[in-house]
Structure formats: structure tokens, C-alpha cells
């Protein structure tokens, strides 16, 4: 607590930011509720506990990455390489186990380490060489995917031991195992963002990076930490994904970056930085996954579903930005 009072900026941010943010999330949650009831009315199998938990299972891999992505976007950055890190980590998990002969737990640790290292590399170049995050992570999007394909030489790794499938396919107390992982990650991220100096620093950087630097905040170190965290979570997501689909392929995680960013932005995090919450991201994630699922169950075909998701994204962004303009006009 005493550490927080030393920093003047976050207190100002506290007064302005959460006020309308709360409105955006409440609104989004309300839309989600209406969509849930509507889709539930159209298809009796939609609002079953079984289906909803299963959707939680399917959204975990994207969800795990969306949490650190919220941190990054709050600082005004972006990480487009997460999908490729998923591919690289998946391949290295399989390869270190099958080809290098690591015991599987060690292989899991190794692939997580590689994920963190990949994120660290992003962070170090972004902070030290001052390459914009967009450029750097577009570059590593290609680089990490290329590494995944080069290392694997297109060989899939299969035949993992039975215990490894637990996290991807089994239930724990009636809830999909990976959903527990996601729930813990959500709670931890929310506390970090909302209740710690570290979290406040993220908003400060996003609002005005120069001011944050002059206030003595460790801007570079914080950025390094969140990009590394992003890579680590992408590695974790890769382990969950491999366990769920029981095989390792070099094309895993292609396009994840877009799903992740869509969820974060839909959840009210501003791409310009300074604004956003974990709860918004969670609602955004749930919204996209349940819309896709509900529409599919109602008989809407695959390509039409994508159109609807796109329209919802545009609409909610419109509403959010007009709301923001109203607040600022007052």
C-alpha cells in the first residue's frame, strides 16, 4: 500500500478510467446475457451445463493468451507472435520428448521455457532497440513459425502417455481440467492488474509513457515482464492444446493472435492503451465463443458465423468509442 501512494499518476487514472469502463463491461455483459437467452430459446441444447463447460474447454487455449495480451494492449503494445509461439512450443514439447529423449515433465518445462524465451526476445528488442511492438512481433510471427516448421520437418509427434491427456480431455470435480487452469489464471491476472503497483504501472505506461518514465516507473522492465509472460502463457496454451488434440503439428496456433486480440478488444481494452480490465477480456472471450457455438447449434453455417462475429466486433467498438466521446465531452 505504501508503495502505491508514492506514485501519483495511478490515483488520477483510478478516478477517471474505471468509471466509464464499468459501463462498457456492464453493457457487454448485458448484451451477452440477451444473446445467451436468445440463443438458448432457439436451441434447447445450447444452455445446458454440458455444452457450456465444453465451450469453456474449447476456449481455454485462446483465453490463457488473452490475459497477458490484455496487459500488453493496456500499455499500448501488441503481440502478434503468440500463435507462432504456440506452434513452436508445441513442436519443442513433442520433439524434446520424442527425439531428444527428455522425460515428458521435463519436456513440458522445456517448452514453457522456450515460450518465455521467445516472449523475452520480443520484449528485449522492443525495449532496447525501440522497434515498435507491431513490427517486432510481425517479424517473430514469421520467425517462430518458420522455426517450428524447420525443427519439425513436418513430422507430427504422437503417442503421448495416457496421463498427459488429463489436462486436455479429463474433468476435475465435473469441470474440464483446463478450465481450472484458466480460472486460476484469470483470478491471478485480475488481482495483479487491479490491486498491485505492477498493474497500475501498466495503465500509467498506456496513458502516457513519457510521463511514466519521468515518474520513475520501471517502464522497460515492466514491458519486458509482460512480453515474457505472454510467451510463457502461449507455451502453456500449447501444452493444453497438444493434450486436447493428442498430436503435435507445426501448424498449431495459426491465427490465434487474431482470436486473442478480438476477445481483448471486444472486452473494452483500448488499442491505444491506458484502458482495459481482465473482466472485460473474460466477457469478450465468453461472448465470441458462445456466439460462435450458439449460432452453429442454431444451424447457421460456418462462413456466416464469421460474418456475425465481425459485425458484433464493429458494433461494440462503435458503441464503446461513442460512449467514451460522450464522457470526454462532459
Amino acid at each position: 500500500m505504501s508503495a502505491m501512494s508514492e506514485i501519483p499518476l495511478p490515483q488520477a487514472a483510478k478516478r477517471v478510467v474505471p468509471w466509464w469502463l464499468l459501463r462498457h463491461e456492464t453493457m457487454l455483459a448485458a448484451i451477452l446475457l440477451v444473446a445467451l437467452i436468445g440463443l438458448g430459446g432457439l436451441n434447447s441444447r445450447f444452455l445446458t451445463l454440458d455444452n457450456l463447460l465444453n465451450q469453456g474447454r474449447l476456449t481455454t487455449e485462446v483465453g490463457l493468451i488473452a490475459l497477458p495480451m490484455t496487459f500488453i494492449i493496456i500499455t499500448g503494445g501488441i503481440d502478434l507472435s503468440v500463435g507462432s509461439i504456440v506452434g513452436l512450443c508445441a513442436i519443442l514439447l513433442g520433439y524434446s520428448w520424442k527425439i531428444f529423449g527428455f522425460p515428458l515433465p521435463l519436456a513440458i518445462g522445456f517448452s514453457l521455457l522456450v515460450g518465455a524465451a521467445a516472449g523475452f526476445l520480443n520484449g528485449i528488442v522492443i525495449t532496447k532497440v525501440k522497434v515498435p511492438p507491431l513490427i517486432m512481433t510481425i517479424a517473430t510471427l514469421a520467425l517462430y513459425r518458420g522455426l517450428a516448421e524447420g525443427i519439425s520437418q513436418a513430422r507430427s509427434v504422437r503417442g503421448y502417455p495416457e496421463w498427459f491427456y488429463f489436462i486436455g480431455q479429463e474433468n476435475l470435480f465435473g469441470v474440464p481440467a483446463q478450465l481450472w487452469l484458466l480460472l486460476i489464471a484469470i483470478v491471478v491476472s485480475a488481482i495483479v492488474l487491479d490491486r498491485t503497483t505492477f498493474g497500475r504501472t501498466l495503465y500509467a505506461i498506456g496513458n502516457n509513457e513519457t510521463a511514466a518514465r519521468f515518474s520513475g516507473l520501471p517502464v522497460d522492465r515492466v514491458k519486458l515482464i509482460i512480453y515474457t509472460l505472454s510467451g510463457l502463457m502461449a507455451g502453456l496454451s500449447a501444452c493444453v492444446l497438444v493434450s486436447r488434440v493428442t498430436t503435435t503439428r507445426s501448424d498449431m496456433g495459426i491465427g490465434y493472435e487474431l482470436d486473442v486480440i478480438a476477445a481483448v478488444v471486444l472486452g473494452g481494452t483500448s488499442i491505444f492503451g491506458g484502458v482495459g480490465t481482465i473482466w472485460g477480456t473474460v466477457v469478450g472471450l465468453a461472448m465470441i465463443q458462445l456466439l460462435k457455438n450458439g449460432l452453429a447449434l442454431t444451424g447457421v453455417k460456418g462462413d456466416a458465423t464469421i460474418i456475425v462475429i465481425g459485425a458484433v466486433l464493429i458494433l461494440s467498438t462503435l458503441v464503446a468509442s461513442s460512449l467514451q466521446r460522450k464522457r470526454e465531452g462532459v
Partner: protein, 371 residues
């Protein structure tokens, strides 16, 4: 310092990757056992030993023998000519049978994760049967097993899954048969001691990987002097396939005497690249493709042989097989199944139903086909 460490680490990873990849096998081939056919045309291989049924079984499936059923078809992706043709076959079969409804729905890109989600959603929404063409034989298995456990019948076509994750698989043509047709055509058109390259979808796509593995085995046995340059990936993407083929032509120059197209997208794109480079007659194009896409190149004498089966028949057969499974007329241990206008199809390899031998389209016969 830290940057140096990270670079050193990445470098080491790359080295480790290339070292472990040192392999004499062709790129894009899988590691499963191969079974090349005999070299000469007339000489048939000994029939494979009869294998017991190795497919799966649904739990407590509802008895719908002779009753109307609703099926969903989840191909690798939707919106390409090949799967439009299988869909057409399914609709024809549904009409002929009269008590089957089939809907085709699937991802717009050939992604394992997306395909799994589609199947998962159809399990929840409730169907009597699922027809699929797998993007990955192992990745798709858990969700298919889930379908079986919920009493839903599962039949594959075009690209198989692990056998115990589905009941039957309708095999369009055996891998070694396709491989033989492809390699024999290439040796005849390009020359026995020439070099060729391959344009495939991705190295992890099961069918293409299997064909390349069998082509490698058959070439070693029957055309040992053919030289392989490289295999390139081009997804199932028109533009990318054309670009990759053009790159191969530019890169290898006179050395390149032949191009294999491993997908219905890569083959016409390769033929287009050869046409654009004005190398018709100098670079042979042999590949898998649908006749309509290849007619311009075959008629212009740029392509001599197109290898395929009839995908309309494939979809048709898959639907009849599903109906027979639901009716209980196709049981484990059966040796053949009735497939409407296609007659009786034979069971091979435990739980696979063989559509027939591969078909080679040439200038003489390609005009008779429209799909």
C-alpha cells in the same frame, strides 16, 4: 548480454532442428510403413492378408433401421471444387435413398482446431451420423470417439482417422495405387533419369504425406534413376501454389523436368506456372486434380495425365455406407457393401471400403467428365 543469450539459444535450437532432420527420406513423407506395388502393369500384388475389423462402435445408438436419419458432413474445408464434388455425391445419394438428410458444414480453412469445433458442436446439436474427411488422423480422434460414445455413427471418407475413432472409412483409392500411377506417368513423360519436384499442401496433411511416402518407396523400387529435387508446401491455396511452382521453375532451371501437384489446387496451378513460363513439353506436370480444372491444360497438350478418382462417387459411397451402418446391413466382418448405382464395394484392410482403382484422365477421355 541478454540479447546475445537469446540469439545463441535460438541458434542452438535451429542447429538441433536441422541436425535431427538429416534424413534421406523425401520431405513431406510420413513415417508409416510403405507397401509399394509391383513395377509392371499386369502383375498384381498378392492380396493383403484379411485383417479383422478394427473400427470403433457407437455406444447405445438409437435403432433407426429404415427410418429417416439426419447426417452432417464435415470435410477438411468448404468452398473448394473437390469437396463441392463430394457434397454433390452425398446429395445424390440422399435423394436416391429417400430417407437421408445430409448437410455439409465445415471450416473455410483446413485447420484441425476449427474442424474439431465443428464436429463438437454437431455432437451437441444432435445428429444421427457424422461423415468426415480428417485434417489430421490423430487430432480428430478424441472428438470422433466422443461422438461414438454419445451413440452417433461415424464414417470417414477421403482422409482417414485412427481406425478405432470411426466405424468405417471409404477409401477412394489405395495410397500405393495412386503412387504407382503418379510415378509411372512421370517416368514416362519426363524420362527415367530426370529430376522432378513436388508441390504439396502441407507436410502434415495425412493423405499427401502418405502418397509421397508411397511414391518414394515405389520410385526406389521401380524408377531408381529418377532424381528428386525438393518438396514445397502451398497449403490448398491457388496463388501460393502458382508462386511456389514458378519459384521451382526459376530455381532449378533446365534441371527441372517434372512437377508433381499433390492437391486439386496445386496441380492446375503448377500447370499454369509451366504454361506461363512457356515450358509446355519441357516440364511435365503430373498430379491429382479434378478434370474441369485441368481441361484447358490437357487440351493445350501441356498436361498429359491427371490422376484421380471420382469425388462425386466418393461422397455417394460414403452416404450409402452410413445408411448401411445405421440399418445394420454393414456389420464388422462383412466383405462387401451395396452402394446403389456403384454396385457392390469391397471391404479391405479391416474396416475400409474401397471405391476402386485410381483413374487417369487423358486428352482422349477428359471431355467425358464434368466435375
Amino acid at each position: 548480454m541478454k540479447l546475445g543469450l537469446a540469439v545463441a539459444f535460438l541458434g542452438a535450437t535451429i542447429l538441433a532442428g536441422t541436425a535431427s532432420a538429416a534424413d534421406k527420406r523425401w520431405d513431406g513423407a510420413d513415417d508409416l510403413p510403405v507397401n509399394p506395388l509391383a513395377c509392371s502393369a499386369g502383375e498384381a500384388n498378392a492380396a493383403p492378408a484379411a485383417k479383422p475389423y478394427d473400427g470403433g462402435k457407437p455406444t447405445n445408438a438409437a435403432d433407426k433401421a429404415g427410418k429417416p436419419i439426419t447426417l452432417v458432413d464435415v470435410p477438411k474445408l468448404i468452398g473448394i471444387g473437390y469437396f463441392n464434388a463430394t457434397t454433390k455425391g452425398m446429395q445424390e445419394a440422399a435423394k436416391a435413398l429417400g430417407n437421408v438428410t445430409v448437410k455439409t458444414d465445415g471450416p473455410t480453412e483446413a485447420k484441425i482446431d476449427e474442424q474439431i469445433k465443428f464436429i463438437d458442436n454437431y455432437i451437441t446439436s444432435g445428429v444421427d451420423g457424422i461423415l468426415f474427411a480428417a485434417n489430421d488422423p490423430v487430432a480428430i480422434a478424441p472428438v470422433l470417439k466422443k461422438a461414438l460414445s454419445k451413440g452417433i455413427h461415424v464414417v470417414g471418407y477421403d482422409a482417414n482417422s485412427a481406425p478405432d475413432a470411426r466405424e468405417w472409412f471409404v477409401n477412394q483409392a489405395e495410397f500405393n495405387g495412386i503412387a504407382k500411377a503418379m510415378m509411372d506417368s512421370m517416368a514416362k513423360e519426363a524420362g527415367e533419369d530426370k529430376s522432378f519436384a513436388i508441390v504439396t499442401s502441407t507436410f502434415t496433411t495425412p493423405n499427401q504425406a502418405r502418397w509421397i511416402a508411397e511414391m518414394w518407396a515405389y520410385a526406389q523400387k521401380c524408377h531408381p534413376k529418377l532424381k528428386w529435387l525438393e518438396t514445397v508446401e502451398a497449403q490448398e491455396d491457388n496463388n501460393l501454389s502458382f508462386n511456389q511452382a514458378t519459384t521451382l521453375i526459376n530455381k532449378h532451371g533446365d534441371k527441372l523436368a517434372g512437377l508433381f501437384g499433390m492437391t486439386s489446387v496445386a496441380t492446375p496451378a503448377s500447370a499454369e506456372a509451366v504454361t506461363k513460363a512457356k515450358l509446355c513439353g519441357k516440364v511435365a506436370v503430373v498430379g491429382l486434380a479434378t478434370p474441369n480444372a485441368m481441361k484447358p491444360y490437357v487440351n493445350a497438350d501441356c498436361v498429359k495425365s491427371v490422376v484421380l478418382w471420382n469425388p462425386v462417387d466418393l461422397g455417394y459411397a460414403a452416404t450409402y455406407v452410413m445408411r448401411a451402418v445405421v440399418d445394420g446391413s454393414l456389420k464388422p466382418g462383412a466383405t462387401s457393401v451395396d452402394a446403389g448405382k456403384l454396385g457392390k464395394l469391397n471391404v479391405v484392410n479391416g474396416s475400409e471400403i474401397l471405391l476402386g482403382s485410381p483413374f487417369i484422365f487423358t486428352k482422349q477421355n477428359i471431355k467425358d467428365f464434368d466435375f
